[in-house]
Amino acid sequence: MTYAARFFEAAELAERGIDNLPDELVSNRHLIYSSPATLAFNSPGAEGFGVKRAGLAIPGSVMLLVAPGCCGRNTSLVSDMPAYRDRFFYLNMDETDIVTGRHLRKIPKAVEEVVGCLKTRPSLVMICITCVDALLGTDMERVCRRAEERVGLPVRPCYMYALTREGRRPPMVHVRQSLYSLLDARPKRASSVNVLGFFAPLVDDCELYDYLRGIGVKAIREVSRCADFDEFQHMAEANFNLVLHPEARFAAADLQERLAIPSIELTRLYQLDRIRRQYQALGQVLGVTFDDEVDYAAAEAAIESFRDLMPAASFAVGECLNADPFELAVALTRYGFGVREVFGTIQSENFVFVRRLAELSPHTRVYSNMEPTMIHYDAHDCPVRIALGKDACWYHPEAIGLAWNSDVQPYGYAGVCRLFEALAAAVSQGEIADATDPTRDQEDGRADA
């Protein structure tokens, strides 16, 4: 019998609607294929800024992972990085711990031993617990308070509960709440703004910084740019928070309630007109107008420059990258390129882009990285010139690849510029026999620019 990876065309998905997606595209209706993409999206501690790295976003903090040994096994991938050396510690649980809960009594003493063995006193100890304690219903807040009393340092829980990944407060939501719960009330400063959402900074030349400075903001704070715990505490002074990732929504709501810091949520986009509209909307809320002509033109020029290099590029777009894959696919299609495949997870928030993609490129194939038949995926069934996203690169080893998944976050017009500059560099480095893409002829539903 011949097997093949299951896909659905964008048009079919749009017709079905978000409430009637095929089982293959709904992750809790099938086994999860452990493709490279699955690691990043299905395992809270596996890759990128998972719970473990995120939990150590506060400068000078350390983490005690209290869990069965299996949960901490891959941590050396992180702890070998210079920024995380000597910051991870482990209290391995055994079956007796689970039955008796004795590991909870050991935690304050373990925290004391960890703090005692460090040359520099940490600013914070994060206690990371996992699925086992989720099932046991452990009250880790109480345990942390006891540990705090013992060492005289802030001790906070963070929950690497893979079991709750699709719940209301999944691990990456909770870890943000945990971090920002450390902020103590301070007098407000009208010229101070926080950027929430990511654990690494935006690209240095992001126009958002200039726009904020242009309206009198003097301090723009991101947790990743705080040099130490004291500077982090200054985030409590903010006049408002800009929330750039939906997973920071609950943390922002906490800050609104606890410290009376309101928030405004923005989305990362790669469609220039939508970026412009979003800045216009932000300006309306703040009562100002942002002059984005230069930045808009620069982004347009970057796109044009790439188009000159490869006018009929065909893409496979994955989800292991700094973008929503469907929004990015729509953007690429609108810029005149072909998107033959998207490897992505459809959610209610991005279904609007699936609909738009269906209008522009109805035959674009949509795959779920996590679906079991992806084991049969064969790139020869749908060749592309450029694979965008770490997962797409893995599926298309023969294409020009751009992982586009750096820690530093592309955003706004600057993000668009960086993307197309990186694409141009990747194309220049790749072996290009012909700037005209032969697979482009098979493309259907070519974009309106």
């Binding site: 941590t75 050991k106 960890v114 099932l135 079991p372």
Partner: protein, 339 residues
């Protein structure tokens, strides 16, 4: 403190050992977890994962699946996958979640076989034991189930047990890798070569079932010997040496060290310590403190083991010879290189 790790990351767990054994056998392997365990196994403990496709899946358990014990959902999903993938068998591998909720593996196996029409084994790993325990369970489960036919002995054919990346700290050479056919035809082996303690229980099973004798890896067959023979390594003649490795390999290294004039060699292991393989004075290590006490109190001149261990004993003044142990540090063995 028992269980506290200040220097070392946790070692490869039992579930990784089980998957390592099953990885190349052409089955559908379902890790009964929420996703994190699969991430650890495929993304860290299985070096073949990036170069070979294998039907290793996560059950993708969610909180309500665990709370309500939705085994039927898991079985339905396994049956669905089995209809889309050509597989020799299915294997369900345990993790902490089924361990906590008390999953009935026998019932799960029966349900799976009925629904998926595929022979199924279960491995009741918990994520709290070490890799060799899981590997041993997986070897036993797969051979017990599928090595049933008594075939004529094929003269010169040697079965190899315990040769997986976690035990060997390298990708097994082709002649040592295990296929499903090797399992089914196990009775045809003239003898079995046990290269790690994880293979010992199955070697005994096969001896009992088919009368196949077994022997252990010898020094000249051990890939890591090259590290002891590498130019520039510290002299060992007359030295008191501590070797920290899995037990079969440690014994092979011991034989080599004694052959080149070491005064004495003590073997220690973080993993299984089998009586059949141990010599007086050999040590089973459990905590970082155990290693610290052994090194500082043992009067050794030379330490042989994974280099991450040296962080625990910064005051040790003797020489060290690096022999990476994948199950300890995640570093693969190679001459002059690591992972």
């Amino acid at each position: 403190m028992r269980g506290l790790r200040k220097y070392l990351t946790p070692f490869a767990p039992d579930q990784s050992g089980a998957v390592s054994v099953l990885f190349e056998l052409g089955g559908i392997v379902v890790i009964c977890d929420a996703g994190g365990c699969t991430g650890n196994i495929c993304g860290f403990d299985e070096p073949r994962w990036r170069t070979q496709r294998s039907a290793v899946f996560s059950a993708g358990l969610r909180d309500m699946d665990a709370i309500l014990g939705r085994d039927d959902k898991l079985v339905d999903e396994l049956a669905d996958a089995a209809s889309k993938i050509d597989a020799n068998f299915a294997a369900i591998v345990g993790t902490p979640v089924p361990s906590v909720i008390g999953t009935d593996y026998r019932a799960l196996r029966r349900m799976s076989e009925r629904r998926a029409s595929l022979p199924t084994i279960t491995v009741d790993t918990t994520g709290m034991e070490l890799y060799d325990v899981g590997a041993s369970k997986a070897y036993s489960a797969i051979f017990d189930r599928f090595a049933t036919e008594c075939l004529p002995v094929d003269s010169g054919h040697v079965g190899v047990l315990g040769a997986n990346p976690l035990d060997l700290s390298c990708i097994p050479p082709a002649s040592w890798s295990l296929s499903f056919d090797d399992v089914v035809r196990a009775s045809a082996a003239e003898k079995n070569l046990v290269v790690a303690p994880s293979g010992l229980a199955t070697a005994k099973l096969l001896r009992e079932r088919f009368g196949t004798p077994y022997e252990f890896l010898r020094a000249e067959e051990c890939p890591q010997i090259l590290l002891l023979r590498a130019p520039g390594r510290p002299p060992v003649a007359g030295a008191r040496v501590l070797v920290v490795q899995q037990q079969v390999m440690a014994n092979a290294l011991r034989d080599e060290l004694l052959a080149v004039g070491a005064e004495s060699v003590t073997c220690a292991t973080w993993f299984m310590l089998e009586d059949e393989l141990a010599q007086p004075g050999d040590v089973r290590l459990r905590e970082e403190d155990d290693f610290e006490e052994l090194v500082y109190g043992g009067g050794f001149d030379v330490l042989v083991g994974d280099p991450t261990l040296w962080r625990i004993v910064p005051r040790f003044e003797g020489a060290t010879i690096d022999v990476p142990q994948f199950a300890v540090s995640g570093s693969l063995f190679s001459i002059g290189g690591e992972r």
